[in-house]
């Protein structure tokens, strides 16, 4: 054991080190840095105008939705590399059910959610029963689901994009839960007060440039709150930490580790499905290439948020901030007029820095050398 083991030495731990041992700390610092950076670099580019804010908020919210699922799963000690393919698959299923099969959109959405969470459960079941790394199992599903997502529309409609979802979703109660906007009267009122610009020309002249908060953002905030609450305030949350921290030790004291892991795979699939549904309702179509690389973006957001890749440690709030950093940087570089390919360079550097910081924090907590 290290010298940390001695009681009298443990009291000399500096407040800085104690503060470091919070999963969110890195992402809080990162968020501040990113906002300061773009505050200087892109101040007059419109990034912080109501429209600009709405732009990066929406992008961040997309990342947040899948990051919450990936975060809880990673804390439970597993990965899901099939998130991106699941997004494409879910969107395609909604389009096929509602447009090709002409089901009511709400039925299409509900059936798709059931199907996707069942696939998530299958992912989890295979991982738990075979003891294989989830990395491999979900990698298989990455290909399987993407394959079907391309195959089905070609088989049925001889194309890889199915449109017409918007028409089908007209007036559908469940579609508006994913594709609607909230708070329109507030924004009209703000526009009347002159706090938000209004369109000056075109067929929407006189309407505020932002006419509501997209349901996507509400979903993101809702999932973050629910995820954080479950993780920190419920007994199930303790089981999530325990399952990822040391599955065998958790089993010995009666934690239903397999059940916890399978339900986290289902939750990850659920989040992918929320993302897909919002996207399909926004675009009015489903494409076979949707959601590409999203699994990695989700994992990156979670790692920036302070979760350990090895499981057992992390924070939903951290993951949400990681997603915010992700969205702000991606859109900020665009506003600042920086070549967009540099975004990937930045992302790689950020990921590396986050992982190194997290490993260091892990050593502090566990007293490893």
């Amino acid at each position: 054991m290290s010298e940390l083991a001695q009681d009298e030495r443990i009291k000399t731990t500096s407040p800085l080190r104690q503060a470091l041992v919070r999963p969110e700390l890195g992402s809080i610092a990162g968020t501040i840095v990113v906002f300061l950076f773009f505050g200087f670099l892109a101040y007059d580019s419109g990034m912080f105008s109501p429209r600009g804010v709405m732009n990066w908020s929406t992008v961040s919210a997309q990342f947040m939705i899948i990051a919450v699922g990936a975060c809880l799963l990673m804390i439970a000690g597993e990965f899901d590399l099939s998130v991106g393919s699941m997004i494409g698959f879910a969107g395609m299923m909604i389009a096929i059910f509602s447009v090709t099969l002409d089901w009511p959109v709400w039925t299409a959405i509900l059936v798709t959610f059931l199907l996707c969470t069942a696939l998530g459960a299958l992912n989890g079941y295979i991982v738990v029963k075979t003891g294989l790394p989830s990395f491999i199992v979900t990698l298989a599903f990455l290909f399987i689901l993407r394959g079907f997502t391309i195959f089905f529309p070609q088989l049925i409609e001889r194309k890889t994009i199915i449109g017409g979802v918007s028409d089908a979703a007209e007036g559908d109660w469940l579609a508006s839960v994913f594709g609607g906007k909230v708070g329109e009267p507030v924004f009209i009122w703000l526009a009347d007060l002159g706090l938000i610009d209004v369109f000056e020309r075109g067929n929407r002249a006189g309407q505020p440039v932002i006419d509501g908060i997209p349901a996507l953002i509400i979903w993101a905030i809702g999932l973050v709150i629910v995820g954080h609450f479950i993780l920190t305030r419920t007994r199930f949350g303790n089981w999530i930490f325990a399952s990822g921290g040391d599955a065998q030790a958790a089993r010995y004291v009666g934690v239903p580790v397999n059940r916890v892991k399978i339900s986290m795979f289902m939750f990850s699939a659920f989040c992918a499905c929320v993302f897909a549904t919002c996207q399909v309702m926004e675009f009015g179509s489903a494409g076979a290439d949707r959601g590409l690389l999203k699994e990695f973006e989700a994992i990156i957001a979670v790692v920036i948020g302070g979760a350990l890749l090895t499981g057992g440690y992390g924070s939903v709030i951290g993951a949400a901030l990681g997603a915010l950093i992700f969205g702000v940087v991606q859109q900020g570089l665009f506003f600042a007029g920086v070549e967009s390919s540099l975004f990937r360079v930045f992302l790689g550097v950020l990921l590396l820095a986050a992982v190194i910081l997290n490993t260091y924090i892990r050593r502090i907590i566990t007293g490893e050398k």
Partner: protein, 258 residues
């Protein structure tokens, strides 16, 4: 005094391998019964049979004279048989209080939702740790910052708090330094005085003699007999564990240091 927990002629076979070939063992309330055996003697199999991981192939287990059967560790725990494993007692990344209540989280109901009662968990953890002589910095201190001995103590305190009547300790001292070993042995003594039956598994004769009331040696899957404290010398125990002569010869060449 009649034994609290007893095993009679317990055998455990894995295919053609006879891991346990007739084990007789008993432990009374307030007693520390040391089970000694070298590597491969069948200690792990015996622990797993006692704690419900493996059902015995033949033989019986009794609790207060009543026949016991259990299919999994949870059922064994239900009968008050708790096991503290050497490496798998605690999760280093989690706080002491989260570890303490892992699998048995206290809940309070607020607006129909069952919440983890952190206040209760934190308070009880601090109290129980103080009883065991460990002053925590706080209930949120990660277990990873505790020493190996303290981790064992937390695990023991946890088992006792959740109603262990028979406490099985799997080599609690084998990975520890001198001072930490002393702390764990003191904890074992405290637990025994509280009226709990302790099964102390070890291959270290000195640790066994320090706290044991009775000693049973396991060799090649069989119990070689039981001796009371004071009836047996460390050398005799050592020889029994090694199965006779070999060690005595070896020991003379090493100058009696084993």
């Amino acid at each position: 005094m009649s034994p609290l927990f007893e095993m009679q002629n317990v055998e455990k076979h894995f295919g053609t391998v006879i891991a346990l070939g007739g084990v007789n063992f008993s432990v009374s309330a307030g007693e520390c019964h040391c089970l000694l055996g070298d590597n491969g003697a069948g200690k792990s199999t015996l622990i797993k049979t006692m704690s419900g991981v493996h059902p015995p192939t033949s033989g019986q287990l009794f609790m207060r004279g009543e026949r016991l059967t259990f299919r999994d560790p949870r059922e064994a725990m239900g009968h008050g048989i708790a096991t503290v494993y050497q490496d798998l007692a605690m999760i280093p990344l989690m706080s002491v209080s989260r570890n303490f209540f892992m699998g048995n989280e206290p809940v309070k109901n607020i607006l129909g939702i069952n919440l983890f009662d952190h206040d209760f968990a934190d308070r009880v953890t601090m109290e129980e740790m103080r009883k065991m002589g460990i002053n925590l910095r706080g209930p949120h201190q990660a277990v990873g910052t505790l020493s190996g001995g303290e981790r064992q103590t937390v695990a023991i305190a946890r088992a006792v708090y959740f109603g262990a009547k028979v406490l099985i300790l799997d080599e609690p001292t084998s990975a520890l330094g001198v001072r930490q070993t002393a702390n764990v042995l003191a904890t074992v003594d405290r637990v025994r005085q509280a009226g709990i039956a302790v099964v102390f598994i070890t291959h270290n004769v000195r640790h066994a003699l320090a706290v044991g009331d009775r000693f049973t040696v396991l060799n090649r899957g069989k119990t070689m007999g039981t001796a009371k404290k004071g009836e047996i010398t460390p050398e005799e125990l050592q020889d029994l564990m090694a199965g006779g002569q070999q060690l005595a010869e070896l020991e003379s060449s090493l100058g009696g240091t084993v």
